[in-house]
Structures are given as C-alpha cells and as structure tokens.
C-alpha cells in the first residue's frame, strides 16, 4: 500500500513539474513560432504576387467548389487589385501529395509558382522545387496555354527522367485555375479588411 502511494506521488510530482516546464516553454515560443509561420507564408506570397501594400494573408476570399474549400489571397496596391494567389494540391505525385502556391496577375498571366510541400524523390522528382522548372510558368497566359507536359502534348517542359511529378504540379495548377476563373468576379471584388 505504501509502495503504491509512493508510486502515485512520484509520478504525479514528475508529471506536474514536466507540465509546468512545457507550459512555460510553450508560452515563450508561441509568439516566435507564429511569427515564423507567418513569415514563411508571406515570403511565399512575395514570390508569387506582384508588389502589394495590403496584407494578402489576411485579405482572403473563400470559395467552395469541387468539394473543397479554396482560399484565394488577394493582393492590392493602393486599393487596386494587382493579383491573387491560391494554394492547390494534387495527390498524383510520385510519393504523396504535392502542394503548390500560384499567383495570377489581373491580365490572366501567371506571376509565379512555388512548391509548398512535396516528398518527391530527391534529385529527380524533387527538381520541381528548383527554379529551372518553376520559372517556366512565369508569364504563361492561363487561357492560351495547354496545361499538360510536353510528353502528353502540352506546353510544359517536364524534368528528364521524371514525368510524374511535373504532371502532378500541372494538374494541381489546372484545377486551381479553373476555380479561379469561375469565381474571378467574387475574388477581385473581395473587400479589404
């Protein structure tokens, strides 16, 4: 009986001390973590959107389509709509889901494309994260481009030895673009907050 009480007490004390330690750490790191995450996102936005002076991360338009919720980040400069960015994903990757962030200019051209998340084969499919692949999307008109890799009869250069990953990127982009064009009016009209 005495043993059991001792066990309970010791475990409780250790857990309480541990809990206190964790709570403190969490308190200290909460703000920096949030800041780091935000910085990460803003950094990506800067890459895919033109110059803006609003806060696109806060200025969003949520659309429900194709069974998914799409978030469009609207960028403005001096109140004028200068572009929108959205995240899209495809599970047709070689090794799981690929998530991209794409930015579109008001003249219906792509401003930029970033790979947010991927687990493709290093040195092969993972080359979709390299600028040699990503940069080809810049300036492509969203309506006149055939959104397929060249091997499948489209306009997008694939990576040597890896067709699957670029194909997944293109398919994610194409789906996102369709949602964007369908809801363009609503997105462009999103009021600044």
């Amino acid at each position: 009986m005495k043993d059991i009480i001792k066990m309970v007490v010791v475990l409780t004390v250790i857990s309480v001390v541990a809990g206190y330690l964790l709570a403190t750490t969490n308190k200290i790191t909460k703000a920096p973590i949030a800041a780091a995450r935000l910085a990460e996102k803003l950094d990506a936005m800067k890459k895919v959107l033109p110059d803006y002076d609003n806060d696109p991360v806060a200025n969003t338009c949520v659309v429900k389509e194709a069974g998914k919720e799409w978030t469009f980040y609207v960028a403005r400069k001096q109140g004028v709509f200068v572009g929108a960015a959205f995240e899209a994903s495809s599970d047709q990757g070689y090794n799981g889901t690929i998530r991209i962030l794409a930015g579109i200019l008001p003249d219906n051209r792509i401003k930029g494309l970033e790979i947010v998340e991927q687990a493709e084969t290093p040195g092969l499919g993972a080359k979709i994260s390299e600028s040699a692949f990503k940069d080809q999307f810049q300036g492509k008109a969203i309506f006149s481009t055939r959104w397929m890799v060249k091997k499948d009869g489209g306009d997008i250069d694939a990576i040597t030895g890896a067709t699957i990953s670029p194909r997944a990127v293109v398919s994610a982009l194409e789906t996102g673009l369709a949602v964007y064009t369908n809801n363009f009016d609503k997105i462009a009209a999103t009021a600044d907050r």
Binding site: Y94, T121, L124, K151, D152, T160, G161, A162, T163, I164
Partner: protein, 347 residues
Amino acid sequence: MNEPVEKTLPIAAKEPTWLASSSPHAHSGDSVRKIMLTVIIALMPALAAAGIFFGWDALRLTGVCIVSCVAAEAATRKLMRRDKGIGDLSAVVTGLLLAFNLPPALPSWMAVVGSIVAIVIAKQFYGGLGYNPFNPALIGRVLLLISFPVAMTTWGPWQILSPAAGVDAITTATPLGLVKTTLGTGQPLPFVFDGDTILQFFMGAKNGCIGEVSVLALLIGGMYLLWRRCISWQVPVFYIGTVAVFATILWLADPTHNYNPLFHILTGGLVLGAFFMATDMVTTPVTKTGLMFFGIGCGVLTMVIRKWGGYPEGVSFAILIMNAFTPLLNRMTRPRVFGHGQKKKQA
C-alpha cells in the same frame, strides 16, 4: 582349384596410394563450373541478338561488365583471403546478366559501378558464391536504376511497325513505358497489337535492355537450360503463367485501361527474368513446391508493379523481393520425411 595361388600384387600393399575417403565414391560428374558454363552458353543467342539490334553498344557493355565483374571477384577474393579463385565462372555469369539488364546507351563507367556493387556488395560481403541472399546482377541493376534514373531510362528511337492512327511511329520509349504513359493518361494506344507488332516484339526489334529484347533468342537459351537440367521448369512456367493469367483478368475486366496479356509476356524483361534470373540456384528455393510458389510470387509482383507501381517494368524488383522470401519458402515447403506420418510442423 585347391592350389593356393601366389600373391602377385603389382604394388606394395602396405602403402596405400589411393584415396580412402567416405562414400559415395561415384559422382554424377556435374560441377558448379559446368553449370555456370551451361548458363553462359545458354545466354549466347541473346548476346547475338543484342549484337544485331544494338551493335557495338551491346558488345561494349557486355565486355565491360564481364571484365569488371571478374576483376572485382578476383580482387575481393584475394583481399579477403578466400581460397577459391574465379574458376567457377560465376562472376562471368553475373557480368553477362548485369549487362543484359542495362540500356544500350549507358556509359561504361556506370556499368563498372554496377559490376562492382554486384560482386563486392551483393556477393562477396555476404560470403561469396552460395551465401548471397539476393541475385547479384539484379542488385547491380537496381542500384544503377535508383542511382542514375535518367541514364538508365534513356533509350534510342525505334519504329513501331503498326502504329495506331494519328500516333507517331517513331518513339524513344520502351513498349511498357509507352503503354504506362498512354493508358495512365487515358490517351489512345500508340500501336495496333497485330501480327506485325507481335512478330516484331518476339524477334526483338524494340527498345529495352540489351539482353531482354529478343524473346526468340531467350527461349532458345531457356530450352537449352531446361534440357541440360540446369533449371527446373517450375519457375519459368509458373512465372510467365501467372503474368499471363493476371494480365488476362485485368484485360477482360477493363480492356481500355489494360493491355493484351501477350503484350505483357513479349515485352520488358519477363522472359529474361523467368528463365535466367528467377532461376538462379543460390537465391531461389530448393524444393519444387517452393520454386512453384516463387514463380507465382514473381508473377504477381511483376504485374502489380507494372499495373500500379511507379516503374513501367517490375521484373527486377519482383525477383529481388521474392529472393527475400526464399528461406521462408524453403522452410514452408519442406518435404514430408519418409516414414513420418503427418507433415511435421517445424518451429
């Protein structure tokens, strides 16, 4: 008859000059070296076919692989102070099989890397001939495939004899690669699989690794091996049979997204694998039942990889995976010992 005879022994009886070892004193006369030699002979038609279809490249790769395998074997054996030399010819077989699994345009130095990996890591590190759990040539090939995917999947142009309407007759993909791409994206099939194409695939005028293209040449070699009792019929029959059955089921279920079973048999490394790689004695089961299951397993895995996997071809991976099952199959298919009533379940 009652006259005692003189002892007229031609040699001194006290000093034995002959062997007094254990029975049996007779032997079938077969040896590891002879088996390896038979395999080498059986691979010659395929080598000739490779020479016809790929020319200089085929001979270059074969030469490089054999020389570097034998050199690696000799060097490792010397360094490890292993008694037997390269006389068993197993390194030559490994070199030949590795070369047969390489695309014709592969740079020579990559072939050397593959050979060294096959001999040193896949074979000698495990203890040499007889102790390697995996087929050394396939380990060499898979390592090259994973390490240098671009070089290992770059092919020259070849012409399809019966292209489907509106599809280019010249392509730089393998037949399996073509089918994987087009069926995967729902596009029309690139060729009509009629008599001309079937014959073309059977003879070997197509893209592929240098030793796998000519089904005819491989069948000649395979029959020779069967006739010389170097391989048992179970593996090739059940391997190719399983692929055929699997492919037929898929094809009947959905002919628009699956290809003809005959196509699956005539393309890729299936025939090379079924007759020469999945029959490697060291890495396959010893019992006939075990070999049967081995063949079926290889067939299922090959089709699963071809149908659902990332690579268009799965023979190498299928055989290597089944190699890992060999000890288990040996244990599971242990024959019932004579005079033991029921099959003994051994822990």
